[in-house]
């Protein structure tokens, strides 16, 4: 029972990070019908920017309690600029090109960013300074520490904030209108280029937060960390129904749980033949299963409605 509870907690924490990243995929897909495969790298750049600025700030003697939010804000800001530039340079010129073209530039951007990060930050793993005391709490035999609590609560807060922006503000209304019908939205005076840019910026800011969360949780950052994380978040978006915001959040949390429970029990179930190091298998098994059995995802609409 303790193991079960522990895996649920781990799964929810990890899943909330997947959800934040999945939102970035799903927002862009909802509006452009494009899968932004560079999104995982934005997560990585966010983590790296936060790490560098944090190290610098601490070096100048700024107190950790001020340095942390400052460096997170810097990472978000940097990623917003990055997200804006990616769209402007790699996707906008190809907006009316066949759909394969922007997919390929997406992969290109992803490789460029990885290599850029490798040149700037090197190939080694960086340890993320631990600024928040761990203070493990015991809940019914399972352990949750302060960082995990902060990650989960912060992630939920950002998701709630996004939902308010999308459902309750003029900007959100314009985003939904552009997602439904770009041409009609344009006729109503909506500046679709602006809406698309802002969508990329919001998604990138969420990615930066997620990057900081992952690094803080594991205490590590690495130039390659965005790749697998990006793929998993993409899986989460597909699981929930790509293009659907609630779906991305649900898919993220579910994927976190599946992975965590799977990793926790795979050893017992296979008599020790597979260990918890096979954790990644579950995410991609889910991806394949969803694509085969329910391509529109859990909350997705039938694709025909978009066409």
């Amino acid at each position: 029972m303790e193991i079960f509870l522990q895996q649920i907690i781990n799964g929810l924490v990890q899943g909330s990070v997947y959800a934040l990243v999945a939102l970035g995929y799903t927002m862009v897909y909802g509006i452009l019908g494009l899968i932004n495969f560079a999104h995982g790298e934005v997560v990585m750049i966010g983590a790296m920017l936060a790490l560098s600025s944090l190290t610098a700030l601490l070096g100048w003697g700024v107190t950790p309690l001020l340095a942390l939010p400052l460096s997170i804000s810097l990472a978000m800001l940097g990623c917003m600029v990055l997200g804006y530039s990616i769209e402007r340079i790699a996707y906008r010129p190809l907006r009316h090109a066949p759909r394969l073209a922007p997919l390929i530039t997406a992969i290109g951007v992803s490789i460029v960013l990885q290599n850029l990060a490798m040149m700037i930050w090197g190939r080694s793993y960086h340890s993320f300074p631990q600024l928040i005391a761990n203070n493990p709490h015991n809940i019914g035999g399972a352990i949750i520490n302060n960082i995990q609590i902060i990650i989960f609560v912060l992630a939920l807060a950002f998701m709630a904030g996004l939902m308010v922006v999308v459902n309750r503000t003029r900007l959100g209304r314009a985003m939904r209108a552009v997602a439904e019908n770009q041409h009609a939205a344009q006729l109503m005076g909506v500046d679709i280029n602006r809406v698309i840019s802002i969508t990329f910026m919001i998604g990138s800011a969420l990615a930066a937060i997620a990057g900081v969360m992952v690094s803080a949780n594991y205490g590590l950052a690495h130039y390659y960390m965005g790749f697998i994380l990006g793929l998993k978040a993409f899986t989460a978006a597909v699981l929930g129904g790509i293009g659907n915001l609630r779906g991305a959040m649900l898919g993220g949390l579910l994927l976190g749980l599946i992975e965590s429970l799977g990793a926790g029990y795979i050893g017992d179930l296979t008599g020790g033949f597979f260990g918890s190091n096979y954790q990644d298998v579950f995410a991609f098994f889910v991806l394949i299963a969803v694509l085969v059995l329910r391509p529109s995802g859990l909350l997705g609409e039938r694709l025909a409605e978009r066409a």
């Binding site: 503000t169 003029r170 939904r176 041409h183 009609a184 939205a185 006729l187 109503m188 909506v190």
Partner: protein, 259 residues
């Protein structure tokens, strides 16, 4: 020749070619302020093409436009909305997953200016503008007669309601010219009658209306002036009673056999 001073829209020598096919050939017309102007013709006569050129969806191959005394360039739909042309579509193009109210509120975007940071920070000016937008959108829904389902998603409205919503959304942009592409298509007799009343009200409010319609009876009962297209050429123009008697028009409709 037309009195150009009271013309809201002046189209001169418009031509449009699709590949080798000539869809419009030297069409000139003028729409006066405050009238309901009808555009009719047999199937494939070029009505929708002309309509799309006027509303900026297509670039004409030849000729040019003057709207509200200024030249305008076709092919830039968002600028046309600003200039004061709003349109509806033959196949309804609402934002299906937005509520009726939100659909109309989107139409206000062209006339309001709150920026991104306003949207995120919700300062007083933005909230005030949002409030004004909501009030105006509700007024427009009432104006076209669908205030009750304001919070219903557009896709769940009845067909007639969707047509009305599209008109409300177009009116939200405060157009000088409201261009309607077959608004009565698929409507039953009572819905058509209501539409007629609505369009008359709209004209009374000072908005000029351009109407493409298949339903010749509707056009004849509603329009101040009518142009008839056949094979991409304007074959007649004038008051409905005159046009109805025009031998070229009779030949086009009977000889065409389309309708």
């Amino acid at each position: 020749m037309p009195h150009t001073e009271d013309a809201l829209l002046l189209a001169s020598h418009i031509g449009k070619q699709f590949g080798g096919l000539s869809a419009l050939d030297d069409v000139s017309l003028h729409i006066r302020r405050g009238e309901i102007y009808g555009l009719i013709g047999p199937n494939g006569a070029g009505k929708t093409t002309l309509f799309n050129v006027i509303t900026g969806l297509y670039q004409p191959s030849a000729g040019g436009f003057q709207f509200n005394g200024m030249h305008y360039e076709s092919g830039k739909p968002h600028l046309l909305a600003q200039a004061g042309i709003a349109r509806t579509f033959q196949n309804i193009r609402l934002f299906a997953n937005l509520t009726a109210l939100e659909n109309v509120m989107i139409g206000r975007h062209v006339r309001t200016r709150a920026g991104v940071f306003g949207a995120l920070l919700r300062d007083r000016g933005t909230r005030k503008e949002e409030h004004a937008i909501t009030v105006r959108a509700r007024e427009l829904l009432r104006y076209v007669g669908i205030e009750k389902p304001a919070q219903t998603l557009a896709k769940h409205l009845s067909y007639g309601e969707q047509r009305r919503l599209e008109i409300a959304r177009a009116l939200a942009t405060e157009p000088l010219l409201l261009a309607l592409d077959e608004p009565a298509a698929g409507m039953n007799a009572s819905e058509t009658e209501n539409l007629k009343t609505l369009l008359k009200t709209i004209r009374t409010s000072g908005v000029t209306v351009l109407l493409i319609e298949h339903d010749v009876k509707l056009i004849m009962g509603l329009c101040d002036r009518v142009a008839v297209l056949d094979y991409g050429k304007k074959i007649a123009e004038g008051a409905p009673e005159e046009v109805r008697k025009d031998p070229a028009v009779i030949a086009a409709y009977l000889g065409g056999g389309g309708d």
